[in-house]
């Protein structure tokens, strides 16, 4: 995964170019701008700084919201005074799947807009919509940071315990394994995990707090899927989000290695939790008599469809 940083100068340069191209349209210059989300609004504000005052005075703005999961377009401002026979500009700052902008263009067409210019500063290569003007194409797994007051650091957790997340080492063999309280899991040893790491190429990380190894996660990359083989934390650390931290690292690792989804085997009684967290059942079931496992999968990026094994 590549992270692109666009500083203020770069964003301004793209804005200047867009303004010049729009002004060159002459009579076709779009005098009504539909701005998608707060990111579209912030981009429009930057672009507007390069527009002559007399042109800016004639611009009308309509803010548009679209809930990605519900798929409904909401016009946040009335626009009964807008002439939809004239060109309009639909603007966003970053397009991922293209679905939101596509919905918005269809919604505009439905209400009578004929000439709909579209712009986004950043688009992902797999976007289903290609705007009329765009600045930068990035890969589907990549991300771009721009127009942010602060850039978020990657982080494992918000609060203590602050330990060290590291790769399993040979010196861990023989050390006390985290007691999860699950009898079958508490039979595992670091020797077992080292064997899997060495023989299967599993990635095994442990969380070390002080001198205690209080959690572990083991996963394998299978094409575009990160399969989580095991994840557990010591009962003494209950309520301290060690498991969440380990899952977070697994996802970060997955994204940085261009995985599309995460999979794990969940015990049947836990399926409601995973469905709640928007995992879906793959369909594969492992019936071991007393325990029935279901393979659960969650896609990592909404713009990338998971590959199916």
């Amino acid at each position: 995964m590549i992270t692109y940083f666009l500083g203020r100068e770069q964003v301004d340069a793209y804005a200047v170019d867009l303004v010049n191209r729009l002004l060159a349209l002459g009579e076709e210059f779009p005098t009504t701008w539909f701005l998608l989300g707060i990111s579209g609004q912030n981009m429009a504000e930057v672009i507007s700084r390069h527009i002559p005052d007399d042109v800016l005075a004639k611009l009308k703005v309509v803010r548009v919201a679209c809930d990605r999961t519900q798929g409904e377009v909401e016009w946040q401002d009335p626009f009964d005074d807008v002439d939809l026979d004239k060109p309009v500009l639909l603007l966003d700052s970053a397009i991922h799947s293209g679905h939101t902008m596509l919905k918005a263009t269809r919604a505009l067409a439905d209400i009578g807009a004929k000439e709909i210019l579209t712009y986004s500063l950043v688009i992902k290569a797999g976007s289903e919509l290609v705007p009329n003007y765009f600045g930068v194409i990035i890969g589907d797994h990549d991300r771009a940071y721009f127009l942010l007051n602060s850039i978020p650091n990657n982080r494992l957790q918000k609060t203590a315990p602050f330990g060290v997340l590291r790769v399993l080492q040979e010196t861990d063999i023989g050390r006390t394994f985290p007691r999860t309280g699950v009898p079958s899991m508490d039979k595992i040893s670091f020797s077992d995990l080292m064997y899997e790491k060495t023989s299967r190429g599993s990635h095994v990380y442990v969380y070390e707090h002080g001198k205690q190894l209080c959690g572990y996660v083991s996963f394998e990359r299978r094409g575009g899927i990160l399969f989580i083989d095991g994840l557990g934390s010591d009962q003494d650390y209950r309520g301290r989000n060690i498991g969440g931290l380990l899952m977070r690292w697994a996802e970060n690792w997955a994204r940085s290695h261009k995985c599309d989804s995460i999979e794990l085997w969940a015990l049947e009684p836990r399926i409601p939790f995973y469905r709640h967290m928007h995992f879906v059942e793959d369909g594969r079931v492992m019936n071991l008599g007393e325990e029935v496992y279901h393979l659960m999968r969650r896609r990592l990026l909404y713009n990338v469809k998971p590959e199916v094994a």
């Binding site: 009504t32 707060i38 990111s39 609004q41 912030n42 429009a44 507007s48 800016l56 005075a57 611009l59 009308k60 703005v61 309509v62 803010r63 919201a65 809930d67 999961t69 909401e74 946040q76 401002d77 009964d80 005074d81 991300r143 940071y145 942010l148 007051n149 978020p152 918000k158 699950v182 079958s184 899991m185 039979k187 595992i188 040893s189 020797s191 077992d192 064997y195 083989d229 095991g230 994840l231 557990g232 934390s233 209950r238 309520g239 989000n241 060690i242 498991g243 969440g244 931290l245 899952m247 977070r248 794990l264 085997w265 969940a266 939790f273 709640h276 967290m277 928007h278 325990e291 496992y293």
Partner: protein, 80 residues
């Protein structure tokens, strides 16, 4: 009537100030657990059955589940 650009800029400044102080803004989802306004690249925004969560809250929910129900694929153990 649609906004003039001056009106839009004033509204944007107000919304941005609300976002900076973690107050809800119309058209922007808030985290179901901590009510932080969600911005994809800043807070993360993950859909779950009861709404949307910021990344921090998503992994905290997961952590509570994993405390009680760790993940383990059945295997034959060497028990070394």
């Amino acid at each position: 009537m649609a906004l003039s650009f001056a009106e839009f800029k004033a509204a944007l400044a107000k919304d941005q100030a609300r976002l900076d102080s973690r107050q809800p803004v119309q058209g922007i989802l808030s985290c179901t657990d901590c009510e932080t306004p969600l911005q994809e690249s800043v807070t993360g925004s993950r859909s779950v059955d009861d709404g949307h969560l910021c990344s921090d809250c998503y992994f905290e929910r997961f952590g509570r589940e994993l405390d009680e129900h760790p993940v383990m694929m059945p295997r034959a153990l060497r028990q070394a």
